[in-house]
Structures are given as structure tokens and as C-alpha cells.
Symmetry: C2
Subunit: 388 residues, 2 copies
């Protein structure tokens, strides 16, 4: 099939011209590891025309987003901004800007995302050491101190909220330890920001990243990044350029700072969305937001216990945002998640890596952290468990 | 200011808690180099709840987007997909996946984006040569052949549509030249895809990138990328991992291909948007789409001429999507763009690099390629030129 053209060009090939119907998206309750459902107010904000990325109205939005990200993370870091990609891009931004070839990094491995940090750091030429714990456990301060003494890294990378296990790493004392060893502290807060207490400055965190589609109740595509003045000093004293142009904070800081130097076209409508998401967070307030997540999670945990199900992570270290539930013996984990989505339009996560087939992952994050969702979930799960 | 918490956590610092009003976005006619206004149908598609990035409904959307991108680019490349970021991320993806340290790349420099390719390629350890022309001019096939003979590169990178100059690089014969020298052809189609004839396969292009916010009438944030089997062979035979995790096509191709292996959470709502944008492109058809852009641009060029203004690029090589207009002597270019946006809500682009202060950049792309917009623009420009 070809079409005649009014221009002097070759004939158009219509092989890949597949006519589509109008967009038809199923309505799902997203109780997996993310994305979670977005707040309808946030979605409504995306439905506007873009404006220019150097428009004065856009520059104001950028300032608002930066300021409320500082509030959400409890940091004064000047360099706090959303990266123009999803959470993994913000993750890579911390590594790319902190690591020069040969730099020593110590990475805590107790879940999928620690392993991803290792993969990323290897691509930037880091000299990598690791400290390991079973998936679902966390590191003690004494273990971290011992590993620091052994490896003497320039960067210690930990996952605050392991999305693959549902474990919350305590951070008390870790920042002081890092300062004692003249080391930067890099922290994954993908499943904690906006849902679980995070105090970057009090904890002495130097680099952190997150995403928009969990605790912030926003679609994915604009991902929080922050770095402290200590981390910035390291960046400013690099011998080599950051080995990633798109995520180079020495360039991005000029666009987000005073000079407003063009770097790349921003994902304008995603900025509308995260701005609204942060406005809603500010309205609710961190204290109320965190309490809502904690209460909803405890309601879930009690409900699971009543059903005879158990959680994989010890209660003291359990994330309210993401719960790993042990799959009972003789139950096919995948059959349950398939039936939940097909019959109940309810998305649940399966286990990853060491926990594949052994747990389900239940996310109650941001807009979805509501007891009614727990009721809906437990009722659907009961029905499905009786069927499989 | 502090708040009391129901949890055992430090006090919350409210220094950065700045209360915001509801989102208020000015209504602009975006006739600069991009973003352009999105089609309202595309915007309406973003206003839906996200679904999971492994949901079967989402996987279908991915297939639809891939297939229609092949149509838009006129390519059969299996590895054709949108990158989860803005156009610069897709640009970096071509470099990251094509270049290993020490690889020789020859880059055409006749505008801002050629220089950016040089910067990016340097970060991936490329051995870089360049061929130069004044900003606004294009390369002849003979010049390219001579440079290929001198430099013998593994990759030749050219900009099809230079957003900074408005020049269209002819591609006839360049693919054959590259094959003769066993070289991959990498092409920037940021300001051509969806607005200007592009025939990747007929031209023998091996790697190309684009954006969503110009010819595709979509907001920025999901950016077309494609690579040929020749480029894929080079990727599969690398000695080292791709030096960029987020943009590594050896990983991404598994998520977009048969195995659907999780890589990163997709920007789901941006996929809704680009899917709708491509559906609208398919409905209009490439021939009609390209003709509309050409006719609208010629209407602009005639109107400018009637006003005594002239275009910077020779007519034969002028892009219909982006026109550079020479700023008349004794006119302050910046004063005009400022007045256009302040008094007329109309965004125009200024000159970049070698053309700073010398030209304005007028974009008529995608949804905005309509004669009524030319009338609006010329009328506003006349008023403003009489005032400054």
C-alpha cells in the first residue's frame, strides 16, 4: 500500500499504519509496588496546554516544586529538583554525579534495588564493595561501622525503603558515621518520600532520589533528586565531566538556579502534576500524611493476621507504604495476582529476586493509603484464595 | 515552626512549607522552537488514572506506540520505542548505545545540536572528529564523502532538522556513503518527525531520535528512539556494558520485546499521550500532515516577505517546522519576544549560539501548523515592531 504525495519524496509505506480506536484504559485499583493511583486533582492538572520551559510562569512553578520537595524531604539542600524521567533516572543521577572512575562505593544489599545500585555504579567505573543481609532484613549501625572500617568508601549507598522487600532501614547514626569516615551518604527514598518519615538533614543524607508515583500520588515521569553541599563540593571538584549529559547536575543546576540556562526541554505537564501533588502534600501536612499511612498499614496487617496470613518483615522494620505478605503453602502466587486483576481490577505485586513466588507486595501509598482500599483488597483476596 | 507528630520521630521543620494557590497556567500560543501546543485530544488522554507498567492493557499500548512510530519514521526497525524522558534523553540514548570508548564518530556541526552531540559523545569516550558549516547551511554529499575518507568513522552523526537554525539537511545518498565506509548513520529528527518528510529506511539511517512536543502535538516527556539491525549488531557485540543504565537498549529491548522483563516504571500517562498523538497522525496520514506543514510555512514565508523581513536559511533547505527570521537592523530581538509574550501571550524563540540576537525562531509544528496561527503571529509582530 502506498500513498501519492504532493511533495517530491519517495512513496509512503503504509505497512505500519495500523488504525487505532480511541484510547480505552481499564479502571484499576493499583495496590502493587507502584504506580499507585494518582490523586484526581493531580490528574486534572495534567490536562492543560504546555507552556515554554523558559516562560516566567514555568520558572515560578519550578521554584514552587523545589521548595516543597525540600519540605517533603526535610532538607535545606539548595540543589533539590525533579529529574525529567522516572525514579530510575533520579537513582542514576545520584550515582552519575557522586561517582568518578575509581571512586570507592559501599552498597547495602538486602533487596533488588541494592543490586541495581551495584549495576549502575559499575557503569560509572566505581570501585564497588557490598554488605549483605537477607531480603527483608536491615543493617545495624554496628554492621555498617564494621564495613566502613574495612572498605573506607567515599560513598555509602543504602535503601531506606526497599520496594522489593518492604523493609525500612533505620538511619539514626548513619550520617554521623559517614562524616567520621569522610564519606557521602546516598539514600533511596523511592517508597518512603511522602508516606514514611524521612529527615534527610537530621540523618545527614548527602544524596537522595525518589519517584512521583508512590507517596506523592502523581503519575510517574518526574522524579525528586537532592544533593547536599558536601556532595556538591565533590561534584565541583571532579577531574572529569559527569559521564551522563542528561543527568549532569553541573549543567542542570544552572537551569534550576539563578541563570536559567537552557539545558533540555522540561516535561512541562509532569511538572504541573508534581506541583499539584506537592501542594496537596503541603495542605495535608507531613505529620497527618505519615500518620495516615501508618494507620492504614496497621489496619492491613491486622486484617491479614485475622485471615491467617503473615508478613515477611519484622514489625519494627516494616514499611507502611509497602507490605510483603507471605504466600501460603500450596498457593500459586501468580494465579492469585492474575485473578485479582482479571476479576477484581485490582493490581497486586509479585515477589522479585530472592522473594519471587514467596510473597505478594501490597502498596498503600499516597492517595491509595485509605482503609476502604484495605477492605476492598482483603475481601477480594478472600474470594480469590477460596477459588485458586 | 514545628508540628507535633503522632510517631516517634524528630520534629517536622516547616521552613519550606510554602502554601500554594491552585495551579494557574497562562494560555499561550507556542510558536517558538518547542514545546508547541498539544492537540486537545492528546491532553484529554493524560487525564486518566495510571495503570501498571506490566498490565496487559499497558503492554498493548506499548505495541501500538511502537508500530505507529515505525510508520511515522518510515522504518521497519524492530527496536523502535519511546524513551522515558524528553528529546535530549533519546538523543543521549543513540550515543550511549552506539559508542564504546575509543569508537570514532564524525559529527556534522552547523548548529547548536551538533555541538551537543559532541559534548555527549565525549562523555562516552568517543574519538570525535567534526565537519563544520556556518549555522543555517547544510552539508553536500561531496563534503561528507571527503570527511569520511579523512576520518574513517564508525558512526556519522548528522542533524536532519537543526532546531537552532531552521535548516534541513538533505539525506539522499548519505546512507549509501555510510555503508561504503562500514559506518553507522545517526540522525537527529527532533524537529522533523511528524512535520517534515522522513524516510529512515530509504535513507539508510541506523539510529534516530526525536521528541513528542513538536511535530507530534504532544507534551514533552516521551521521546522516540529507533535503531536498525546494523546498529543492534554493534550493540550486541560490545566489549563493555552501555555506560548508561536508564538508556541501555540491551535491557530496554527486553521490556519492549517478547520477555517483558521489568526495567523501570514507565511514564504511563505520557504513553497515553503519545499513543493518542500517533493515532491522530495515522488518521491524518503522513502525506497530508507533511503537506499541511509545508503549506503553512510557505504562507508564513510569504507574509514575512510582504513585511520586508527575510529568512536566514536558503529556501531549498528551509524547514517548514521551524523558520529563522532575521532581526532587522536597529531592532532589539529580546524586546520583541518579551512584548509578544507579555502583550499577546505568544511565545517566539530567540537565536541560539552563533545566531544569538540575530534571528527569531518561529515554530509551526504539529497542531500549531495552521494558517490562522500565521495570521495571529504576523499581526502581533506588526504591532510589536511598531512599538519597540
Amino acid at each position: 500500500m502506498t500513498t501519492t504525495l504532493p511533495l517530491k519524496t519517495p512513496a509512503i509505506d503504509n505497512t505500519h499504519l495500523s488504525p487505532l480506536s480511541k484510547l480505552d484504559i481499564p479502571s484499576r485499583l493499583l495496590l502493587g509496588p507502584g504506580p499507585s493511583n494518582a490523586d484526581p486533582t493531580v490528574l486534572a492538572a495534567m490536562d492543560r496546554q504546555p507552556i515554554g520551559h523558559l516562560d516566567s510562569a514555568y520558572l515560578s512553578l519550578m521554584d514552587e516544586v523545589q521548595e516543597l520537595l525540600r519540605y517533603a524531604w526535610q532538607t535545606d539542600n539548595r540543589l533539590t529538583l525533579p529529574v525529567s524521567g522516572t525514579g530510575s533516572a533520579a537513582m542514576e543521577a545520584t550515582i552519575a554525579n557522586a561517582i568518578e572512575p575509581g571512586d570507592k562505593i559501599l552498597i547495602g544489599l538486602n533487596g533488588y534495588f541494592g543490586h541495581r545500585l551495584v549495576d549502575m555504579a559499575s557503569r560509572y567505573g566505581a570501585d564497588i564493595s557490598t554488605i549483605s543481609r537477607s531480603w527483608g532484613e536491615v543493617f545495624t549501625l554496628a554492621e555498617l561501622r564494621s564495613a566502613m572500617e574495612t572498605h573506607r568508601p567515599q560513598v555509602l549507598a543504602l535503601v531506606h525503603a526497599e520496594t522489593s522487600t518492604g523493609a525500612r532501614q533505620p538511619l539514626e547514626g548513619v550520617g554521623d558515621l559517614c562524616r567520621e569516615f569522610d564519606c557521602l551518604l546516598l539514600l533511596d527514598t523511592v517508597t518512603s518520600l511522602g508516606g514514611v518519615p524521612v529527615f534527610l538533614d537530621k540523618w545527614g543524607v548527602d544524596l537522595a532520589y525518589s519517584c512521583s508515583q508512590k507517596g506523592l500520588s502523581c503519575p510517574p515521569g518526574s522524579s525528586p533528586f537532592t544533593m547536599s553541599d558536601r556532595a556538591l563540593d565533590k561534584l565541583n571538584n571532579r577531574q572529569s565531566k559527569v559521564a551522563n549529559w542528561y543527568l549532569d547536575m553541573s549543567l542542570l543546576s544552572k537551569y534550576w538556579g539563578q541563570s536559567r540556562t537552557y539545558h533540555h526541554t522540561a516535561p512541562v505537564n509532569m511538572t504541573y502534576a508534581i506541583r499539584e501533588a506537592l501542594r496537596l502534600l503541603a495542605e495535608e501536612g507531613l505529620a497527618a500524611r505519615w500518620a495516615r499511612h501508618q494507620e492504614t498499614a496497621e489496619y492491613l496487617w491486622d486484617g491479614l493476621e485475622d485471615m491467617g496470613l503473615s508478613c515477611h518483615v519484622e514489625r519494627d522494620y516494616r514499611l507502611p507504604t509497602l507490605t510483603t505478605v507471605r504466600v501460603p503453602a500450596n498457593v500459586n502466587a501468580k494465579a492469585v495476582t492474575t485473578k485479582l486483576i482479571e476479576d477484581h481490577n485490582l493490581e497486586l505485586g509479585g515477589g522479585l529476586g530472592d522473594l519471587a513466588g514467596q510473597v505478594w507486595r501490597v502498596g498503600l501509598m499516597g492517595y491509595n493509603a485509605q482503609k476502604e482500599n484495605v477492605d476492598t483488597f482483603l475481601s477480594a483476596l478472600k474470594q480469590v484464595l477460596a477459588q485458586v
